[in-house]
Symmetry: C2
Subunit: 192 residues, 2 copies
């Protein structure tokens, strides 16, 4: 089974990880699949993804091209209607392809998770067009999660930079994704 | 004819424009196709793309997902073997899709070119995977062309930022693209 056949190339590919808790609650969150000599991911212990894979040892990598889904799964909660269950693990309805993995923790490094592919499916192929705005939302989302974790204001400057790219280059849906991201940031400010 | 069917969505899509000179010399250079109420592009007068469309009124937008092709066409010269001719206009062999356009200059604004679609072709669909490194090369390429035009060193800092992303997340081919970009910058430094 070649991961490349499911859209996961060498280097790091950004996907949405879906997992399920022992009580059956699904979760979706962006992760980077690192495909080098081994396939692995960095997953932080204070996340649902981490506690779910601790319990079930399973994770699905959903290949999704819609940046709005990245924003919602990183900063909010994706509606459970967006998921369906395959072999007891949740999969995203909007995934163009997915691969399920058996997870194995590194013996020394708690955040390093080795991923052993179980099975995969390709659902939809598209014309792959380079869009600055699509990626600007992904970068802004990464900086937003870093800001929320550290409160370091340098991340807000990065988000403003990427927001300019989305304003200039974005589609309606991409502009909506950026608006949602800013909304999440504003919502969380109130809690500080 | 819907541009969306050829991978060109609303907002700005980054493509490689291929054109031909009156003497039959082909040219390839990245441009952003702006798809709003009208379809247009900003093309600067001191470029081969501009003088070619002045003469022929024709341009092909090649949808290409390989960032190395963006680097080569922005900063160097793509080998003529990479092109073939359709209806007297060059098209890239590596294009996943292409659309040919009749070009019309705006009456007031010299750099604003309206694009009227003539025909298009879809050659290959892929699984569209979000990769920070792919876009980092596109951003670095944009900053490299701006640096070469203005010599403003802020652009070198941006390139260094995007180089870090490619180091961390890039595939072998993406790392090669970044190496080429740096090579072009170094080569041009000597000419300053």
């Amino acid at each position: 089974m070649k991961l490349r056949d499911f859209g996961i190339q060498d280097g790091i590919s950004e996907v949405i990880a879906t997992t399920i808790s022992p009580t059956g609650k699904p979760n979706a969150a962006p992760i980077g699949i690192i495909s080098d000599k081994k396939i692995c991911a960095r997953i932080y212990p204070d996340t649902h993804t981490y506690s779910n894979i601790q319990a079930t040892k399973k994770l699905v990598a959903n290949v999704v091209s819609d940046p709005l889904v990245f924003v919602l799964s990183a900063l909010g909660d994706l509606d459970e209607k967006e998921l369906y269950i395959v072999d007891e693990i949740p999969v995203l309805r909007c995934a163009d392809a997915w691969v399920s993995f058996e997870c194995e923790k590194d013996e020394q490094d708690d955040t390093l998770i080795y991923l052993h592919p179980i099975k995969g499916k390709v659902l939809r192929k598209r014309i792959w067009t380079i869009r600055r705005s699509t990626n600007a939302i992904i970068e802004a989302t990464i900086h937003a999660t870093r800001y929320l974790a550290t409160k370091d204001e340098k991340y807000l400057k990065w988000i403003a930079h990427y927001e300019e790219i989305v304003k200039k280059c974005g589609s309606m849906r991409e502009k909506e994704a950026m608006k949602k991201l800013k909304g999440f940031l504003r919502g969380r400010y109130k809690k500080l």
